[in-house]
């Protein structure tokens, strides 16, 4: 490893302190230093590039869907092509973008920093997870070239068994992506258990870590069921084993049970890390401790537990037993409670804070608004009699886009904006970033509010053509998608521009106090110059904001002194 320490003249470096070590970005160079890296930060950045590319592909497909639906007969494609386009949109967004998005990119980068750790517990497993993600993505792309897939991202049987498209290779891709997700989850569980800083008890862990912990448990416990399901699907496809195909005595509804037993927890695999990001962003940019910290931490765990018990609410019209439906509807209602608690706590955190309308905060506020819409409309769908009407309509489409796109994706972008200066040591153009946040908030609502409306009026989802009375809603929705597209294109533009010529970021750009802000900017290879020790409160903004260099970590004598004085154990 190269250890050339760059010398910076304080007179020309804008007052930034001399570094003891080069940053992780400069510690070594060359393609292999990235592709073979075991550094959690570099792996996180590779994931960031990968999932953002997947998001842009999935977003372009979504825009094609919206353009096609401009006219009742479909403006662009034959129905068969349309079905492939919306399927690929779903597969890219769900399996390739949103599931790994926050845990594997931001989680990888930020989690060890927040825990005061030099890396994750299992760095090789971490890199293996990234290459599994690449393999799964390549298999998915191969499936597109080799006949595409037109089953929807849910692969419902028996249609997925008889369609002549590349369901088996796509299933294999999903299987491999699942293992990538399991590896990441396992790694984070071990890291959180074993590698927290001295003095950092469970309840001195930032809420992002709690959210990642809850997510990781779901990833490890639920994803194997997805693996089993797609393997059975492949066996059924190739050998007709008769488990899902009624022609051979199988039960197509059994597939739905298997699929949603994974895919419902997967919804929380998607949203929980987003909630974690928002907790951090709101606290830092309101300069105030998280209101109801423990309740938020417990609500993450309770959401994770409940999420295993509600899969049947995806199947209220499938003909499952009425008694089972009662149980699923009842349990589904309990998701609303921890969700509501989180929203109230975030708003209460902003109340009485010192609220900076910075770019990450604007993304977080947009998240709060859309997430509230997504949460409230979820109650409609959990209600048995109302769901019978709304099931499989655009109301459902709009609801889960509010949660996945308007919430998880926006939380992801809030986090990227928040930690960008930490990652690269540069700042983007914040004015453009604020414009983009507003465009996305407006664009989202123009796109999806008409979809709620037409869903209530009875417009079924996955329709390549539709009856004329829905045209006006589709057209407004397409205009909204164009606004969203402009917002995202702008974001990609100023983010890339910042790498080329952004101003140098401050050591602690937003004034954060958690351990991730106790590192040099960008961090060292092993993150901290000296092993950090947590002494004070987690979100304490009153005892001074860490500014790396001025607030150096304590040495051992100082630690022992504080330990004796304050009576805690490291």
């Amino acid at each position: 490893m190269t250890t050339n320490i760059p010398t910076v003249d304080p007179a020309t470096s804008g007052g930034v302190e001399l570094r003891k070590e080069p940053s992780y970005l400069r510690v070594s160079s060359g393609l292999w230093s990235w592709l073979g890296t075991l550094d959690h930060k570099r792996i996180g950045l590779m994931y960031l590039v990968g999932v953002t590319a997947a998001f842009l592909v999935g977003g372009a497909l979504a825009f094609l869907v919206r353009l096609h639906l401009w006219t009742p007969d479909g403006a662009l494609f034959e129905p068969a092509t349309y079905n492939q386009v919306f399927t690929l949109h779903g597969v890219f967004m769900v399996f390739i973008f949103i599931i790994p998005a926050i845990p594997a990119s931001l989680g990888n980068f930020v989690l060890p920093l927040m825990l005061g750790a030099p890396d994750v517990a299992l760095p090789r497993l971490n890199l293996a997870s990234f290459y599994l993600w690449c393999t799964g993505t390549i298999l998915a792309i191969y499936s597109i070239i080799n006949g595409a897939v037109d089953t929807g991202w849910t692969f419902y049987t028996p249609y997925s068994l008889e369609t002549g498209t590349a369901v088996v290779s796509m299933g294999l891709g999903v299987f491999v992506l699942g293992f990538s997700s399991i590896f990441t989850g396992l790694n984070f569980i071990v890291t959180i258990h074993k590698m927290r800083a001295r003095g950092q008890t469970w309840f001195k862990m930032p809420l992002f870590c709690w959210a990642i912990y809850a997510t990781s448990v779901l990833q490890v416990l639920a994803t194997p069921v997805l693996g089993v399901t797609v393997l059975l699907l492949a066996f059924e496809h190739i050998y007709n084993i008769g488990i899902f195909d009624p022609q051979y005595g199988g039960d197509p509804v059994l597939f739905q049970h298997f699929f949603w037993f994974y895919s419902h927890p997967a919804v929380y695999i998607m949203i929980l890390p987003g909630m974690g990001v928002i907790s951090e962003v709101i606290s830092v940019h309101s300069r105030k401790p998280l209101f109801g910290y423990k309740l938020i931490a417990f609500s993450s765990i309770s959401i994770a537990v409940i999420s295993f018990l509600v899969w049947g609410h995806h199947m209220f019209t499938s003909g499952q037993s009425e008694f089972v439906m009662v149980a699923f509807s009842f349990l589904t209602m309990f998701v609303a409670i921890p969700t509501a608690i989180k929203v109230f706590s975030w708003v209460a955190t902003i109340w009485g804070g010192s609220v900076a309308l910075s770019a990450p905060m604007l993304y977080a506020i947009a998240f709060l608004i859309i997430f509230t819409i997504g949460g409230l409309t979820g109650v409609f769908l959990g209600t048995l009699s109302v769901d019978i009407h709304l099931h499989d309509t655009y109301f459902v489409v709009a609801h889960f886009h509010a949660v996945m796109m308007g919430s998880t994706a926006l939380a992801f972008f809030a986090g990227v904006h928040h930690w960008w200066p930490k990652m690269f040591g540069v700042m983007y153009n914040e004015t453009l970033a604020k414009i983009s946040a507003v465009l996305i908030l407006v664009g989202f609502n123009v796109t999806f509010l008409p979809q709620f409306e037409m869903g209530s009026l009875g417009m079924p989802r996955r329709y390549a053509t539709y009856v004329e009375e829905f045209q006006i809603y589709h057209q407004i929705s397409t205009v909204g998608a164009a606004i969203l597209g402009i917002g995202f294109a702008l974001m990609v533009g100023y983010m890339l521009a910042s790498l080329a010529g952004g101003r140098r970021a401050k050591a602690n750009e937003w004034g954060g106090v958690t351990l991730d802000w106790h590192t040099p900017t960008p961090p060292n290879l092993y993150n901290f110059d000296e092993e950090p020790v947590m002494t004070g409160d987690l979100y304490d903004y009153t005892s001074g904001i860490p500014d790396y260099g001025k607030d150096a970590p304590m040495d051992k004598d100082e630690l022992a002194e504080r330990q004796a004085a304050e009576g805690w154990n490291a």
Binding site: D150, S286, F344, A348, S385, I388, R462
Partner: protein, 321 residues
């Protein structure tokens, strides 16, 4: 009545008895959601404006980390509301699930991509059109001949997946004397079923009981066999896969079909004659035209298209250029 049920105008015409229960619940959910959304938005915007950071070093106005009373209250309120909503939805759903004993029985057969409706007392399928009387409960027993479908009439607030290998039952009743007789409603397929999913539509005609006694589904067929053939083509689902203008859909086009010769996937040749058409409708997989090896067509049996109906189709095919 209508205005109270759906003051925000978000739901389709309430043409079944379920609407009287579901629409007020929907409205309650919507109004409650609107209230809480407005409340959260107002507090959020107020906090942002009131506590906006005006200079870089400004500390938070307060550092409250919790308030047990407040947290208990905002845990309890949503709990109470969702329990009310759950119970209300459950009661409505029990009604949706269990058909009354005196309901009149229909059979619906779903296939890619057409609905076949067998009216009470009839043995023959009516393609894509359903006549129901007002003021009488209707029980529909549904089977699928291929993949998943879902029977959905938005105006009736009722939906049920049609699952191959299982008989699914759904019921509804159009209220009497509220002006629904004479109106037509959309029947949609709500579960994705492949290429022509969005074209798998139908119409439900509501009629009064006297008119219903005349079995209106039996009338209306043209006298001319060629016109009848065209009727079957458009209504029984043929047009979803077979174009008339030579363009490629799931199956081969009917353009100039009569007497056409070509090759099958097994290399043998075929000529379109009466026997060939008959076999292709009854046993679609017996002879597959070259280039269409992945296409899967669901067979039409005697109930769906009788031999006479096929004869009509043949007469009509002879006229196609």
């Amino acid at each position: 009545m209508l205005a109270i049920q759906d003051p925000f105008g978000q739901l389709p015409v309430p043409a079944s008895t379920f609407a009287a229960d579901i629409d007020p619940l929907y409205t309650f959910l919507f109004a409650t959601s609107l209230f809480f959304f407005g409340l959260i938005l107002a507090i959020l915007l107020y906090s942002i404006v009131r506590y906006r950071r005006k200079h870089a070093d400004q500390p938070a106005a307060n550092n409250t980390t919790h308030n047990t009373a407040l947290e208990v209250v905002w845990t309890l309120i949503p709990t109470v509301i969702v329990m009310v909503v759950f119970a209300w939805g459950l009661v409505g759903n029990m009604d949706q699930q269990v058909a009354p004993k005196d309901a009149i029985g229909y059979t619906v057969r779903a296939k890619k991509w057409a609905w076949g409706i067998i009216h009470p007392g009839d043995a023959k399928q009516t393609p894509a059109e359903m006549w129901v009387p007002e003021g009488k409960p209707v029980r529909v027993t549904m089977t699928s001949e291929d993949v998943l479908h879902s029977f959905y009439v938005p105006a009736f607030r009722q939906k049920r997946d049609v699952v191959p290998g299982v008989r699914q039952i759904l019921w509804f009743e159009v209220p009497e004397g509220q002006g629904f007789a004479g109106q037509d409603f959309h029947l949609f397929c709500a579960e994705y079923c492949g290429d022509q999913h969005s074209k798998m539509a139908g119409t439900v005609h509501v009629v009064n009981q006297e008119e219903f006694a005349n079995e209106p589904w039996k009338g209306g067929l043209p006298d001319d066999p060629v016109a009848r053939g065209e009727y079957w083509y458009t209504k029984a689902g043929c047009l979803a896969c077979h174009s008339l203008d030579g363009s490629r859909r799931v199956g081969p086009s009917y353009q100039g079909i009569w007497g056409r010769e070509g090759k099958l996937v097994d290399g043998s040749s075929y000529t379109v004659d009466a026997e060939y058409v008959h076999e292709s409708i009854r046993k679609p997989q017996a002879k597959i035209v070259e280039g269409y090896d992945t296409a899967v067509m669901t067979a039409y049996d005697e109930t769906a298209l009788s031999d006479e109906d096929i004869a009509d189709i043949i007469e009509w095919m002879k006229t196609l250029k």
